[in-house]
């Protein structure tokens, strides 16, 4: 089967620092991929490149077999390539219900109507509430985002992404900053994502990586060191050396 998301020879440098070197990955539909690597390996940069928030110096990005390298981030999202942020990037003074409804209205292209109240769009509100409820945010959906505990803000990151109806979901450290005891909700949410959605997630906690991912990509110094099943990765001496042994010794 042809991959849903593919990169070919992606290159990116910040000045003299090469943060992406000849990155070629291919994600088959419905697979749960983990992207791991030490701090500064270029994982977030790769997501920025794939979603169009950064322009590559060279290389191609293909979604469903189409070259999307020249498209802007908005257009890529509309085609189903969606991300979340390592550092919360939310709408602090909107409540979750408004934020997710906003996303749905934009998706359905009703966001340009200004003569009808949002409350008239009952289907959009129902869908928004449904998404929030599935992520256990139902009870707090009318509280301002900035007042929510951090863990719930992390869930809202995912809720916003889901409201765009993604084909490929790129999760940048979804549990970053959430204490381990409290991260279970987040990973339940990720496990129960629809199998139609292809997921690539960055995560530093190896136990979670091995539990959730069916395949793992290891990045070091802007390049891909290795790609394989969890068993292959954990058995590889190079991975042990640069990643498991090094950064998390």
């Amino acid at each position: 089967m042809s991959p849903v998301l593919e990169t070919r020879g992606l290159d990116k440098s910040f000045g003299s620092l090469a943060v992406a070197r000849n990155i070629g990955i291919a994600l088959p539909r419905g697979v749960r991929y983990a992207l791991i690597g030490p701090n500064g390996a270029g994982k977030t940069t790769l997501i920025n490149l794939m979603t169009g928030m950064l322009h590559p110096d060279g290389g191609q990005i293909m979604l469903d077999g189409e070259d999307i390298t020249a498209l802007g981030p908005e257009e890529r999202v509309r085609r189903g390539l969606v991300r979340t942020f390592q550092i919360n990037s939310l709408f602090p003074h909107l409540n979750p219900l408004e934020a997710v409804t906003l996303t749905i209205c934009e998706r359905e292209r009703i966001a340009r109507t200004w003569w009808r109240p949002t409350s008239d769009y009952r289907a959009a509100i129902d869908e928004a509430y449904g998404i929030l409820d599935s992520l256990m945010l139902g009870p707090v959906c009318t509280r301002e985002t900035r007042e929510l505990p951090y863990g719930q803000q992390r869930l809202l990151e995912i809720a916003l992404a889901l409201a765009t109806r993604p084909k490929v979901l790129l999760l940048d450290e979804p549990a970053a900053g959430v204490p381990r005891e409290e991260s279970s909700e987040l990973f339940t949410a990720i496990t129960s994502l629809s199998q139609d959605i292809t997921v690539l997630f960055i995560e530093h906690d190896m136990e979670l990586v091995f539990r959730l991912a069916s395949r793992i990509i290891v990045m070091v110094g802007g390049g891909i060191l290795l790609e394989g099943t969890p068993e292959e990765i954990s058995a590889d001496p190079r991975v042990r050396e640069v990643y498991l042994g090094g950064a998390h010794g």
Binding site: T51, M53, G72, P73, E74, E75, V77, R78, V82, R83, F85, S89, L90, F91, P92, H93, L94, L97, E98, A99, T101, L102, T103, C105, E106, R107, I110, A111, R112, T113, W114, W115, R116, P117, T118, S119, Y121, R122, A124, I125, D126, A128, Y129, P139, V140, C141, T142, R143, E147, L148, P149, L160, A161, A163, T164
Partner: protein
């Protein structure tokens, strides 16, 4: 505000539909406010001219609120559209068409068209760059009006503006009676429009742009078209406000394009509270009355107390007077009754923008 346990938290409606519907519903204070705008007819008939100035300023402030308070687009040159509308209305009348309502529409369309053209530039920039661009644009237009004295009358002002009676019935009188209700009705009509707009999906997207333009892109939303649209609408409204000034005073001076006017309206909006719909209205009332009063007491230094007021408000009431009052009431009652009033302008806070 400290995070509270969900079980003991404020009993705001958490059911999604009632919550969304509640935002649209008219509140008692709003009825009271609009009824109170009729008071000048009864209690201060000598001040109707001032009252109509306030209504015009309130409309102008409301238009700035749409772009600044809701979409987060800073402007230091909003008088450009006010002045453009004022001159358009004046010229239409001078050239022989003194019918007020169509004059208003023409002036609004002229300013709206200017705003539409300008919006393509506006949508590309943010923050400091926007301040400089709008400032420069305002100054440019002022100088253009000044040098095109054949058309605008230059520093002498536009002469020969003569308005026909409103609807062919109500002449603009010396006491400002017609002027006030005319300005008030125009304000109310545009207020209703603005109120509808901010509660729509479009209004929600504007708030999204204000809150986090980066995230807007990441949810597949293009901000550009939204910004161009609201900027055009706001320019239209500002033009109408300028036109009402022309029509009710039957003269246009260069002052309509002055930088001072752009700065004043910003002050008014911050005083009242940006992003709150009523902020500009309350701000206009307080500012205009204070100015009238202070300039009577001390004509030379009347900006001094205004300056003190502005600093005090920004320091102690970062959400403006309206935000402050809303917070006070909520605190006293221990409930978030006025949560709808307290969506604060993030550009007044630090660290909320990337």
């Amino acid at each position: 505000m400290t995070p509270t346990d969900p079980a003991t938290a404020a009993p705001a409606p958490t059911a999604p539909h009632p919550h969304m519907a509640a935002q649209v519903r008219w509140r008692t204070v709003e009825y009271v406010f609009w009824l109170a705008t009729l008071l000048p007819f009864v209690v201060a008939p000598d001040y109707l001219a001032l009252a109509s100035q306030i209504a015009i300023t309130a409309l102008f402030a409301l238009s700035l609120d749409l772009i600044l308070g809701y979409a987060g687009i800073v402007s230091l040159g909003h008088a450009a559209f006010f002045g453009f509308g004022a001159y358009a209305a004046g010229l239409v009348s001078k050239w022989g068409w003194g019918e007020p309502l169509s004059g208003l529409l023409i002036a609004g369309l002229a300013a709206g068209l200017l705003g539409y053209l300008m919006s393509f530039v506006i949508a590309r920039f943010r923050h400091l760059a926007l301040i400089m661009i709008t400032l420069g644009f305002g100054l440019l237009l002022l100088e253009a009006a000044n040098s095109a004295s054949g058309l605008t009358g230059g520093a002498d002002g536009l002469q020969g503006v003569k308005m026909w009676p409103v609807l062919g019935l109500f002449k603009f009188d010396l006491y400002g009676f017609t002027a006030y209700w005319y300005a008030l009705i125009v304000l109310f009509v545009f207020f209703l429009m603005a109120r509808r707009l901010i509660n729509s999906p479009f209004g929600l997207s504007l708030r999204g742009i204000r809150e986090n333009p980066v995230r807007m892109r990441a949810i597949g939303a293009e901000s550009g078209p939204h910004i161009r649209k609201i900027y055009t609408i706001a320019a239209f409204m500002a033009g109408v406000a300028g036109a009402v000034l022309t029509q009710t005073t039957e003269t246009v001076s260069l002052g309509v394009l002055d930088f001072q006017r752009s700065a004043d309206i910003l002050v008014i909006l911050i005083l009242g509270g940006a992003g709150r719909l009523y902020g500009g209205l309350i701000g206009a009332i307080i500012y205009m009355i204070a100015r009238d009063w202070f300039s009577g007491v001390n004509p030379q230094y009347w900006y001094f107390p205004i300056g003190v007021l502005l600093i005090a408000v920004v320091l102690f009431l970062p959400n403006g007077m309206l935000g402050g009052i809303a917070q006070l009431i909520d605190t006293v009652r221990g409930r978030r009754w006025f949560g709808w009033l307290t969506s604060p302008p993030p550009w007044l806070r630090s660290g909320s923008k990337p």
